[in-house]
Symmetry: C2
Subunit: 423 residues, 2 copies
């Protein structure tokens, strides 16, 4: 059986651990596996026939490297009925390299690619096993208790908030001080919620968490911030980038012409609002890409799960479980126990799992006890970071590229596909 692995969507600190899992399991299954290839930049790389040989990779270094070493893309296949020629090309490439199984590692959109390609293969009578490997720091894939990538971003953000709390406690100021950390999450508050793990009591940061799932209530926020500023002298707020007002409009920086420094995004706007209302100092952190690539501080649980879904996907391929996702299932909270089960890709593709109301406290600005119980095990455990000269060692080569067997693609998506051949 010949496998083709590919990475898609936004990156995480542990997606390469899933790649390492796929490859480790393939090596372990020796006799039953032929070649293992990887597409350069997801489905685009297949269309471009831009493929890597995965033979000689050092899996330990691979598993400690953030980003996706094979490259990613955000391209979703159009429906086959609309663009049959694109699917002709896809299956021509798969056939030219005798691919029996496609292992696609991505988020909600990528699972739709899995479902579409699986259905197209069946319609065409191409014997392909299509498996989804979940990945997203947003933790928003339905059918998965949690998603590889989330636990590490959660640990990084909760750790950062806990560390900043010690700094805030140290700094005195008659004016008071507001600190805002803006985290990723356009529609879902999973990462924002994770920062609540930093606090062990009501005095510790974050004192307030704002979720995209809750309409932004400005008077309630200001009332809470005022209480905190007067009681503690500081106030730390986690803001999900996608918070919205009750009318659905996003909260973001407004224009100013008074010469004041302007802030960007929702976090900057909240920092400005609170600091101008109460005339206090403001600080605004936006970790941005740092939160999804912090391989130096991954959750050992998350890393193990990323590896495990990769291994499971190779197993599912051998078992012919076409159209499924290797999903993590929770078996218990304390002690935390989990396993991996096949979930139907078509049933969960392109959905978006939001934070359940039971995970949000009654006031809408904190995480509930149920939410903490869910979150706590996902950030557990540390892993040593291979370093040289004090900085992490990553895989930074280019995996060898396979010779093309087909003439260059010249179809509908040529301009898009060409980006996959870059570098």
């Amino acid at each position: 059986m010949n496998l083709l692995y590919a990475q898609a969507g936004g990156m995480t600190a542990v997606i390469n651990a899933s790649a390492a899992g796929v490859l480790a399991e393939a090596r372990a299954r020796g006799a039953r596996i032929g070649t293992v290839l990887a597409a350069h930049r997801g489905i685009l790389g297949i269309l471009a026939e831009s493929l890597h040989d995965c033979g000689g990779l050092d899996l330990d270094t691979l598993a400690a490297t953030p980003g996706g070493i094979f490259g990613s893309c955000r391209f979703n296949m159009p429906p086959e009925a609309e663009q049959p020629a694109l699917y002709d090309r896809l299956f021509a490439v798969l056939d030219a390299h005798r691919i029996d199984a496609l292992l696609y590692n991505g988020g909600n959109g990528s699972l739709e690619v899995v479902a579409k390609v699986s259905a197209a293969a069946r319609r065409r009578g191409y014997p392909l096993v299509c498996i989804g490997i979940p990945k997203t720091i947003d933790n928003d894939i339905e059918g998965c208790d949690c998603c590889p990538g989330y636990g590490s971003a959660a640990k990084y953000l909760a750790t950062s908030m806990r560390e900043v709390c010690r700094d805030l406690v140290s700094m005195t100021s008659r004016k008071g001080r507001i600190f805002v950390m803006e985290v990723m999450g356009r529609n879902v508050g999973w990462l924002a919620a994770a920062t609540a793990l930093a606090a062990r009591d009501a005095d510790e940061a974050p004192h307030i968490v704002l979720f995209p799932e809750m309409p932004f209530d400005e008077p309630a926020l200001l009332a809470r911030a005022e209480t905190l500023l007067s009681r503690l002298g500081y106030c730390a707020i986690t803001v999900a980038e996608g918070i919205r007002r009750a009318d659905g409009s996003p909260v973001m920086a407004r224009s100013h012409s008074d010469g004041h420094m302007r802030f960007g995004g929702a976090g900057g706007e909240i920092a400005r609002l609170v600091s101008e209302t109460f005339d206090c100092h403001r600080h605004y952190a936006a970790p941005d890409y740092l939160q999804r690539s912090a391989a130096h501080w991954v959750s050992a649980v998350d890393h193990a799960q990323a590896l495990a879904v990769g291994r499971a996907a190779t197993g599912y391929a051998l078992e012919g479980r076409d159209g499924t996702v290797a999903a993590i299932r929770r078996l218990g909270d304390e002690p935390y126990r989990w396993d991996i089960v096949p979930v139907d890709a078509a049933a969960v593709a392109n959905l978006e799992r939001r934070l359940p109301p039971s995970f949000i406290a009654a006031d809408g600005m904190q995480v509930s006890e149920a939410g903490r119980r869910y979150l706590a095990p996902l950030v557990a455990g540390e892993r040593p970071t291979p370093c040289s000269g004090g900085l992490p060692v990553h895989y930074r080569g280019k995996p060898p590229r396979l010779a093309q067997r087909l003439p260059p693609y010249t179809g509908w998506a040529e301009e898009i596909v060409r980006t996959a051949q870059r570098d």
Copy 2:
């Protein structure tokens, strides 16, 4: 000999390691040391007679905790000639607690406090030994080869940039992508320079570093960014928060009324400028307080130096080296060797050591080889992070407060001093 230790200025990830060094050395010197007290929030805590007993502290937990557990302040003593009553109060408190030595842990401004208090004591015939313990992520104290706190912030930022590079390489896009990380440094580019350690060749991030020491050259930046975007498809830029145009005006976000998202600070402005000029995607990270409190990822060298300057300061106190700073001296680059020497506080107080021109590359937008040689050893080595439930364990108690022996202060700086009594 009775010691009084205090923390001042902005916090670092390792200032408490210096506190632990002071206390460890005092415990080791047993017979010669009486009590060791700490002021609550720097010099303000002395004026407020708000003092801690340092007896039962666990030094290992202390040394792994970011922020300053005794609290900090940014108050500089006015000249004695202008406010003699403030100095009367200061020495009354020192005398009431039989303090023989003041160990003041801070940056440039704090060393001026050391020099002033030392001179006032001599004038008044109060037998006080005043010692400065250097601390600043800005690395800008004259007379010190490097400053405790800098190496850890440098390691954190260089690691972050190296990790983000793997993410950038992974993500394909026809439009291209610009990533900007804004780092602290209003007047000095030491932290910006440190991020250059992330890159091992010209393809790796950061591709451009903008320093406060160099006037911002917009055409040169855009020309360089265009080359990088066309060659690599992405471009990563480190921006020190304090970069200025040739006319001295700070670079920061301008007002927009076109409905576009606005960005804040210099980094946001650079991200906007490049992305609007070349119509590419933009991402903007501002680690803010995270970079100075990331105790989970300190430089082992920096941590050892922070501890060592604390130990040396206690030694200097016993030796009566009044008015000196325990400064780090470099003895060699490869292998890196250093020791600690006394430096005259008055001679280096309130100066600001900028990045030397020889550390900046000829084009003004990168770090030179000499700069890299200086920087490399400071980020070396990792330390295990004590964790519980996947998150760092910090000292979070309140050290016991000493009973006051004097009536409350009611002088000139009463309103300021009162903030030191908070919590």
